[in-house]
Every structure is written in C-alpha cells, then in structure tokens.
C-alpha cells in the first residue's frame, strides 16, 4: 500500500469518531485533489466537512475559533508552504490561547499538511524542514514517516485536545509505505521512536530522512555494526535523554537530517552532546548547491560505504 493510501485510511478511521468533527480545507473530500488524501471521508451527523475558501491565514484562525469553543477541527492543507500565510495565527493566536488562565479543555485543532520535499516545486521546495513551522511558537508537531509512527500519531493526536501540526511527506506520497515493525519504544507521546537497539553505535534520523536512515542501519548491520536507530518526529519539547543515555554507552553517533534550513533539529542534539565523551561522530546533512532554488529531484542520498568506514 502506498504511503498516502495508508494515511488516508487512518484518517477515515479517526474522523468518524468525534461527535462534532469539523474537517476543512481547499478541495478536501473531492477525490484526488490532495493527491488522494481526504478522499472518501465521512463524519458523524453532528460534524461537517467543508470544502473551504482559499484563505489560509483565516482558515487557521477559524480552526482556533472552533477549538476555543469546544469543537474538534482539522485543517487539511495541500502544501505546508501555504501555512506561511497563517504564521500570525500559529504564533499569536496559539500563544494568546495558551496564556489564558482558563484554557479550553475539550476543543482541538490539528493542521495536517504536506511538506513540499519532492524538489519539483522549485522555489517552494526550499522550505522542507517541518521543524521550522513547529519552532516559531514551540508548536507540538509530528512528522509522519512510516506505518508505525503514522498509526501511533493519527490515533493519538488527530483529535487530542489542544493544538498541533501533523506533517506528511510529498516525496513519500506515492511510494510504498515503509513498515518498520513494532518500535522498540515510543518516547514523549510520539516525539521520538526507537526502532532498533545496538551496542556499537547510535543512529538518529530527523525530518523525513527515516527511509535513508533505515537503509543505512541495514547496511551497518551487514557490516557487523549493531546500531540503535532513533527517529525524531517532533522538533519541540524533545527530551533528548533516551538518545543521550544510549550514546553514553555506544560512544558513537550518526545523525541524519534532510532539512534545508540553516537551523536544523540535528544541531540541537549535537549541541546537547558537546563535552560528552564521544569516540566517533558522523553528521549527514544536505549539501546545498546552486540548483536548490530550481525544480530538481530532492532525493536525499547517503554514501553508506563511506559512513561505515567513518564509524568503524
């Protein structure tokens, strides 16, 4: 099953549960206009599905209004860069609501948006770092990269009281969904997933680099290197302890981050490791070249042989 099909099935399962779900967004529920996402959704009679206007800033404010007044809203957004128009609402409205003495307890609001990381959107593709949106106001956010984190995140967070953003990957959309099996452990309500445990090295992947990290982990194993694999799904409120604790044992770390921003989540972890006794450190980041503003493939490639040599 394709990534997008699996996510859509999860969404369809969840949206029929609340009494007053309000699902909205441009062209939602209208077939394949969102690449198949939201196709065939249904809600209970007390809810609504709204094929909305083209006004992202106001639609984000609308979602906060629903939440304030006890409803459960989900804004499905075709591309996360459209959310730039809603930054005022993401920062100011969310902060105003959070700072009140009496905060709404029942309502919820979730933005489900697809990060433009295929590369072929040209200038829009530079903004592929999901954490950038979360960072502006320390917004809870969850990047969905595979079957295990998708199942967990959609069932736990789509209608949870309060606000969050769930980020999907355009690049992964039409690929087969990766099934990593049962995670070793899930930390912080889905902020970090651990997929393997090993004594030789600790591998940590960020943003939407899970597929590359998983492949690297398999290559490491074949080379006789048993590694932990953590995937960091959220950029904020991340308790690094589980990773730091493992690195203190393995003394070797590999970080993988496919984000294009200047400030990336991997740097936060690396800063936490400053002064810690580490024998080997391999950092795999994007190499920004002169083509980064143009429509080109955005596939993030890792020289696995080189990494194996460096970490041995």
């Amino acid at each position: 099953m394709k990534y997008i099909e699996h996510l859509n099935n999860l969404i369809k399962t969840e949206v029929v549960k609340p009494e007053h779900a309000v699902l909205f967004g441009q062209n939602i529920n209208a077939g394949s206009c969102l690449g198949g996402l939201t196709k065939g959704m249904a809600v209970k009679p007390g809810g609504r599905i709204i094929n909305s206007t083209n006004s992202e800033n106001s639609l984000v404010g609308f979602g906060f209004g629903l939440m304030l007044n006890g409803a459960q809203g989900v804004f499905f957004m075709k591309q996360m860069d459209f959310l730039l128009l809603g930054i005022d609402q993401l920062v100011n409205t969310y902060n105003i609501i959070r700072s009140a003495k009496h905060q709404p307890k029942e309502g919820s609001f979730t933005v489900v948006a697809t990060v433009v990381d295929s590369g072929y959107e040209g200038p829009q593709s530079s903004l592929n770092n999901f954490a950038d949106f979360c960072s502006v106001a320390r917004i809870p956010g969850f990047a969905v990269t595979n079957r295990a984190d998708a199942d967990y995140i959609f069932s736990k967070h789509l209608f949870r009281s309060g606000f969050r953003v769930i980020g999907l990957s355009q690049r992964l959309g039409k690929t087969e969904i990766i099934d990593p099996g049962e995670p070793v452990k899930v930390f912080g309500d889905g902020t970090i997933f651990q997929y393997s445990k090993g004594e030789d090295a600790t591998l940590v992947s960020f943003n939407f680099s899970f597929p590359q990290a998983q492949s690297l982990n398999e290559a490491l194993k074949k080379a006789g290197i048993n590694a932990d694999h953590f995937n960091v799904n959220s950029a904020v409120a991340t308790d690094w302890f589980p990773i730091l604790e493992r690195v203190s044992r393995t003394k070797k770390i590999i970080v993988v981050d496919d984000s294009k921003s200047v400030h990336i989540s991997a740097d936060s972890l690396l800063a936490e490791l400053t002064g810690k006794p580490i024998e080997k450190k391999v950092v795999i980041k994007r190499k920004i070249n002169e083509n980064w503003l143009y429509p080109v493939s955005d596939v993030f490639e890792i020289d696995e042989k080189k990494v194996i040599e460096e970490i041995k």
Binding site: N57, G61, F62, G65, L66, L68, G70, K101
Partner: protein, 304 residues
Amino acid sequence: MEELEKEAEEMMRIRLSQILINEEYKAGRFKVPVHLALGHEAIAVALNWVLEDNDRLILSHRNMAYNLARLGKLRPILDEYLLKLTGLSGGKLGSMNLINPARGIIYSSSILGNNFPVAVGVAMADKISGRECVTFVLGGDGSTEEGSFYESLVMAKTLGVKLIFLVENNEWSLGTHILERRCQIDIQKMTGSVDIPYFKIKDNHVHKYFEILANVRESALRESNPICVEVMVKTLGDRKADDGHYINYHAGPTPSVDVTKHFPGGILRENEEDPIFVVSRELGKEKILEISRNVMKELKRELT
C-alpha cells in the same frame, strides 16, 4: 427617565474608570501597553445590554470599554494591567488580550484583524452544536484594511454563521488620521459584495444603539447569517502635536485628559462626539454631575 439614568450611570462608570486608569498610566505604573477607549462608552454599554448569557464576544486590543462594561468593576481590570495575581486573568494577559470567559469574552487579540477568522470558527462551533446564541466580533476601521476582514466576511457568509461584525470607525489608525495613510474604504460596499447586511450607527445615543443592536442580534439569530454594523466613534483625548496637526494616542496615556480637570462631570467634549455629553443633554448637567460624584464614590470605595 429611570432607564436613561441607568445608562448614564454605566457610561459614567466606564468613563471615570478610564480617567482613573489614565492617571495611573501618567504616573508610569503600567509595564504593559494599555489602549484607552475614551468616547467608546455608548456602544460598549449598548452591546453589554444586548448580549445574552450564551452569546460570545471576541475583542481587539482596544477592548477596555467592553471589558469594563461586561465586568461592572474596575479593580480586577486595573490589577490585571498592573500584572497582579488579583487581576481579572491573574496578571497573565495584561490589557491587549484581556478576556472574561464568565461574561462571554473568550478571545481578545492584540493583532489587527487576527480575531475576525477566530470569531468565524467560534460561531461555527455554536452552529454545529445547535446552540442558540450569537457571536459578536469587534474591529476598528484600521483592521478592515487587513485581508482577514474580507476573508472572514466570505467565510461567515458561506458557512451561514450567526456572527455580527462590529466595526468601530474612529477614523484613526495608530497615531494618525486614516486619510493620511489610505483611500476611503466603503465597508457597506465590501459587505454588500458578499450579500451581508450592513448598518451604520452614529451620534452616541446609547438607547438607539441598544435598539439597533438588539434588532440586528435577533435578525442574525433568525436568519442564521452574518451582519455588519459600523459604528462611528470619536476616540477622545487627541491633541495638537508640535507641528500643528492633530494626533491621537494609540497606546499610552492621554495628557489632555486629567481627573482634576474632567471630574466632576466626566465630559471631555461639548458635542455629539462625547456620549456623556449626549446623555447630559437629556438628563441635564446637574444630574450628570450628581451621577459622576456617586460613581466616583463607588470607584474610590472599590479601589481602597
């Protein structure tokens, strides 16, 4: 006449409360920005009377007159501006974002035009829950320049929500007259373009305001549709700048208003721009002086 006296008392309480807040401001006691709304008393009192228990009120940064009207007290609001634990929101919100959920004020925004779409969402939640109530959202004429105003008109009309856009037009934005910055915006034409009924009210007759707002509320409830009311207000306390042209305070105290000069009586301008002057014409100046002394006595008691 009894009803008019009650209206005058409520307006006077808001006026004198603001004059006292201005004195605190001049003394430098606030760390947060505070936006006075001298001259906005008539619409605030009328709206307070119109609101039913389940109705919602979504305010902007210049929310002082409405918060004073809804609460009926000065002390918790003054304490909030002073960031005290005894403040209306425990000193967490200050002035620009001050809310009072127990009295229907569930969101106030410090960002121009930010509150319009939030109000559409609030009204939509009431619609799907089948609650019999109306949401009022407040903005100034400056906020109608924001895209979110028009976007929210379109959304509110499309969704058929019971939402009343209340636009206070004081013809000022920040410290300058609106015409120094932009062309005229015809709000009636804007709302008309999406078939939203529009009403314009002026002259500060509080009872007339009450009747119009009550009818508008009933209509929104009955028709399940948004309505826009533009109210002409004069934010009093403006002054002549050194270069000769008039400027208005945006936030900050107004040096042209002083408790020793404007009490008793509370009148700041002897024409229809001042709601206290308007009501004094009907009740007589002696009655207004008496009301102002009684209200001040209550406020002083509250503050000690």
